[in-house]
Amino acid sequence: MLGNTIALLVYLFIISFFGFLGYRHTKTSTDYLLGGRQIHPMIMALSYGATFISTSAIVGFGGAAGTLGMGLLWLTFLNILLGIFIAFVVFGKRTRRMGYSLDAHTFPELLGNRFDSKFIQGFAGVVIFLFMPIYTAAVLKGGTDFIQTHFGISYEISLLFFAAVVALYVWMGGLKGVMYTDAFQGGIMFLGMIFLIIYTYSKLGGVTSAHDQLTHLFDNPDVQEQTAGLVKGGFAGWTSMPKTGSPTWWSLITTIIMGVGIGVLAQPPLVVRFMTVKSNRELNRAVVSGGIFILVTTGVAYIIGPLSNLFFFEETGSIATIAAGGNDKIIPMFIKNYVPGWFGVIFFLALVAAAMSTLSSQFHAMGTAVGRDVYEKAMNKKGNTILITKTGILVAILISVTLAYLANQLDTSMQIIATGTAMFFGLCAASFLPAYISALFIRTISKEAIIAGMVTGFVVGIFWIFFIHEKEASSLQLCMALFNKTSLVKETGLAKLAMVDPIVVALPSSVIATTIGALVKKCTLSQQHLDKCFKA
């Protein structure tokens, strides 16, 4: 306990120092919003990775893997292929250049300036400000669950302490401070996860032996009894994919793998990272560290989650989700009970680091959405951008903390963290991805087509979340209050749709609306403006 506290204090001191460093070097709003566009590639890649991977990925999705099995490794693959390779090489370079020529400081501003539309910038800003708190709350819950389990203090106090520390250094440093600390935290996360995978595999007698034991664990009669409910839903063991077409399969493929795997391409805090480096060389170099980082962080979490069942079962006779008391507690309990104390401290710091780096970028993104995109640009008001942004951050923190508090009241068998994260990623993909791709690659698309796509994707996504996708609609309870059932399609011929994640319907709707808009309305942007966008 004393060791944990000392390590935590040293850690807090170091990140305060980085926050202060960022504060000292932040003089203009470009410094505050984009780190002055002069960030080192290693810092950028580690910051991107640390922002991308949070407690949500490690605790939430690691816990989901503990229940659903190694099928989540498909998400790691998509994260590396789309989230790093395609994002950096295909999207990153154009985003960097276009962001620079259009003097864009935020993701909504990039879209708004590209199509010369205040509505697009304001709409994107409002979506980010209103819905990112769901994701932020999921990340906060991940960190808080871990602090609660590790230190044995109440959820509420852990939550307040955690939110206060993050708020302080985002408030101080702007994006420079955030990216310095992110890089430092990314380093801790990386080492922590490497230790964890080596330790776990060696404890279980090597890679093949560990997987073999996990495969055979499913044959144990006690395990069969405990997983009976899961098997009914399609679960087929931790080293197998769920039964094709079953509710678990739909949840794994559409919500977890597709929602997050595709949604990452249109994540505002990640897109902004591309605009912080000065040339394509930095992005080329960042692909190396980014790829390795994602493999080590998420890959390890999705392997450790399922393997934790062997440890829990041997000691308690129960599978992980039962022994730990819920999906989101699997990774924290595993670290607390089955790894050596000294490593617990390192991992504790890695997780706090993971959560803080993501949270700080989220708060930064929400603050800039309000200060820059909605207030200054969409509403055309003049004022102190940094002050308005900071006020936006404060409001965003309050909403997120309230949501994280409420999330703890939900049913623990739900994968709350993973679901909240996937919900926001899916909504971002549906609202922003067709617009973002069009902005970068289709020169003559009209702004009306972009608006049609963004609004359609958003509306269909929200409708599906609140009224069709049962997993979310039943928790949000609006459908129940209005129609007295957990999903509009329940007990109808379309009941299977209740298992399909919003992204599967909302993203294609957005693409169709954008295409129709492009066919109906021709681009009216001036040649001069388009030349500026594409800098030719």
Partner: protein
């Protein structure tokens, strides 16, 4: 192979490793490319624009 019999899981396991290797190889090959950002960008963009006008003309 490596104690995993479901070929979909095994494939995901292998693809994770292969995609990381691809990232490393790409980054190393292009380690020093793209440094002189403005001229590189200009060339790339004018090539792109030329191609775009060709397509527009053919349409």
């Amino acid at each position: 192979m490596i104690g995993i019999s479901d070929s979909w899981i095994l494939l995901a396991y292998l693809l994770c490793a292969l995609s990381t290797i691809a990232c490393v190889v790409y980054g190393v090959i292009n380690w020093n490319k793209g440094a002189k950002s403005e001229s590189d960008d200009f060339q790339e963009e004018s090539d792109w624009k030329k191609k775009e006008s060709e397509i527009e003309e053919s349409l």
